[in-house]
Amino acid sequence: MNNSYTKLVSDLAPRKFSWKGNVWVVFLAIIVLVGLYSYIQQLRQGLVVTGMRDYALWGIYISNFVFFVAVSLVGSLITAILRLSGVHWSTPLTRIAEIIAVAAIIMAGITIIVDMGRPDRMLNLFLHGRLQSPIIWDVIVISTYLAISLLFLYYPLLPDFSILKKHFQENKYLNRWYGRLSLNWTGSKRQMNIYSRSIKILSVLIIPVAFAIHTVTAWLFETTYRPGWDSTNFGPYFVAGAFVAGSGAVVIVMYVLRKAYKLEDYITDHHFDLMGKILVMLCLLYLYFNINEYLMPTYKSTEEEAVHLRSLFTGEYAWLFWTAIIGGLVLPVIVLLFRWGRKPLPLFIVSLAVVLGAWWKRYVIVIPTLSHPFLPIQGVPQSWHRYQPTWMEWSITMATLALALLIITFLVRFLPIVPIQETAEERQWPDSIQTTRP
């Protein structure tokens, strides 16, 4: 019994990267550095280094921001919603989901700063903030969500930190840090009480805040009059899409970590099967909202909407639009309906398609609308009619994505990616809790 517990701890304790891991980190770091160079250029010369202009006034920075906010929602789904509904199979995935959520919401904040024309005046948001602006709502809910997500990542880690402190007895440095981070966790009855109550409270708190961050992000568009954004469907449509993107991201990280750390005993094929089923359900839900979002305006085809929809269905954005819908939504649903489709490798590939599709879907939501204003586009250079991201813009965007992966990688390096304590508990080693006591 004790033997298998020791094995469990050493299986799940953070490990040094292999050479592959190091190459990965260097690779990401290079992308981040290139993006940093571009951003310095942007600070110097202004947003003129991007492809945005007065008509295409928002570009991939904003669609990327929406993507990050979307992905961050998964923390609340896997950890809070499943936890509250008494589902236990998802326990080994909770940490992965929370790590993704924290990385994504941090990067959402950074991305929105990247888009600002005057980032030096960011403090104005606090000095002169006006509550009627949806941007202020976003500032409020995103910072709240970041705080709750950090707590939600940290709290369940307390017992694990205490276990790791013991595990790394020989390593003075790690031993000291895990000890500090465990906040004197002993696993006493009183601590356990506070612990489980706090997690329950956080689980309840995080759900409305998660819904709020993405609903408010949808409102950034919905509060304008523009065809394509002027929709009452946007809030739930965005939230549903967010769960799709986030679940896809979880599957990808699950798959990679399981392979890299040989965690087949903990993240089993059964987990992939269930995640596959969740993904099908979410994709179908998102598809339903998509039908609402596009079919009804098409049916009515008011002049402004028709111009917009034509550009999506058959016009210049048709290729992107249909790839995102079919490749990122319809095909995944079909594949995942089969049992073989929910095996780890096929599900991994499907999830890549889903996440990629989700990124481009946000591009299709943000950009085409801006090329169809109410008044005709006249009196500006021809190049302003069509938005074309520059390589600098791409490099900055890639850097934000790489930085998100770097945050995830860093957290994976130092945190147990599968919760040790909870897994032990669920495998019902009665002495496991005691072993956490000093």
């Binding site: 010369q45 202004g46 947003l47 003129v48 945005m52 202009r53 007065d54 008509y55 006034l57 928002w58 888009d115 600002m116 024309g117 005057r118 980032p119 005046r121 960011m122 104005n124 948001l125 000095l127 002169h128 903030g129 006006r130 009627q132 602006s133 949806p134 941007i135 202020i136 500032v139 950034l220 568009f221 509060t223 304008t224 009059y225 523009r226 801006l370 204003p373 109410f374 008044l375 005709p376 586009i377 006249q378 009196g379 500006v380 250079p381 021809q382 302003w384």
Partner: protein, 318 residues
């Protein structure tokens, strides 16, 4: 708390002061009118100016009898606006032949160095069989401005005199106002504007947009408060060779065009079936349009001036 009290007291004092001033002004103008009426027929050879009485009739008045009263700049707060004024503009589409003098004058006087003018003359055609027309379009200075609603930092604001302005020292460059504006009148300084030393070193105030412009912030038509302050018409109004524009005060129910002719606003809008752009959006613009019916100019005449891909003449880059 104390400072709040202070400022409240201050604003109350301001109010009283301004009220008093206004009262004096009214009394003075009353006296003036009496004087005018008493004198109007006595000396026909004198130089006269055209004035409108409160019931809308025009009359000739000796120039010597009229004294110009204008608030001095120090008397008003650029965020509050001119007290007891409400500015409106009327654009007569029947007269526009795309001469583009409004645009070049605006570009010049606001030192616009970007590639998108603040006033654009759109080539419009509402439906296939309907006649095309030219539509000068500038900031509509809406009474329910969607741009002001979404600004997170109160950088763009609505004044009591109806003017919507931008404080470029506060704007954070999020461009939400541009997304919110259905009239596409807001432009962004994507790079350094390079307006030359004289402009760049000018003291910035929000009521003279573009002097200077700032990289990373939003600009747009300001309805020229700096001209109103001098008792003059906005640049576009006075530059138009065809009297397309008329500018004035809703409270006075009067608008004046570039030639100095004045009209009773309510009558003009009634007679000519004036309308506002995208009324259905509920933005309540301050700019009225008179439909392009019974035109005094040919649409085709404007075509030679039409540049689809340019609205600002490129200056020599320093």
């Amino acid at each position: 708390m104390e400072t709040e009290n202070n400022s409240e007291q201050k604003s109350r004092r301001n109010f009283v002061e301004q009220g008093l001033k206004f009262g004096l002004l009214t009394a003075a103008s009353g006296a003036l009118l009496a004087k005018v009426f008493g004198k109007s027929e006595s000396n026909p050879s004198e130089e006269t100016v055209e004035l409108m009485s409160t019931d809308g009739t025009l009359m000739q008045v000796p120039a010597t009898a009229v004294s110009h009263q204008h608030e001095s700049k120090s008397a008003y707060n650029p965020r509050e606006g001119f007290p007891n004024r409400k500015f409106v503009m009327v654009v007569d589409l029947a007269k526009c032949r795309n001469a583009k003098k409004c645009q070049s004058s605006c570009n010049k006087n606001h030192y616009i160095t970007g590639e998108n003018a603040w006033i654009k003359i759109y080539k419009m055609q509402d439906s296939e069989k309907a006649a095309p027309y030219w539509q000068p379009t500038l900031c509509q200075h809406c009474d329910e401005p969607p741009c002001v609603k979404v600004c997170p930092v109160d950088a763009t604001f609505k004044r009591r005199d109806g003017i919507v302005l931008i404080d470029n020292n506060r704007c954070i460059g999020c461009r939400f106002c541009m997304a919110a504006c259905p009239y596409s009148v807001r432009i962004f300084n994507w790079s350094d504007p390079w307006q030359g030393d004289a402009v760049e070193q000018a003291e910035y105030t929000p009521d003279y947009s573009g002097v200077p412009s700032q990289k990373g912030t939003v600009d747009k038509c300001d309805f020229c408060p700096h001209m109103i302050d001098k008792g003059e018409l906005p640049h576009c109004v006075s530059a138009c060779p065809n009297d397309v524009f008329a500018f004035g005060d809703l409270y006075e129910d009067t608008v004046t065009n570039g030639s100095g002719q004045s009209f009773k606003l309510s009558k003009l809008l009634k007679d000519r079936a004036g309308y506002r752009l995208m009324e259905s959006l509920g933005t309540q613009p301050s700019v009225y349009y008179l439909p392009p019916s019974e035109r005094v100019v040919d649409f085709e005449e404007g075509l030679e001036n039409y540049t689809e891909f340019q609205s600002v003449d490129k200056p020599e880059n320093p």
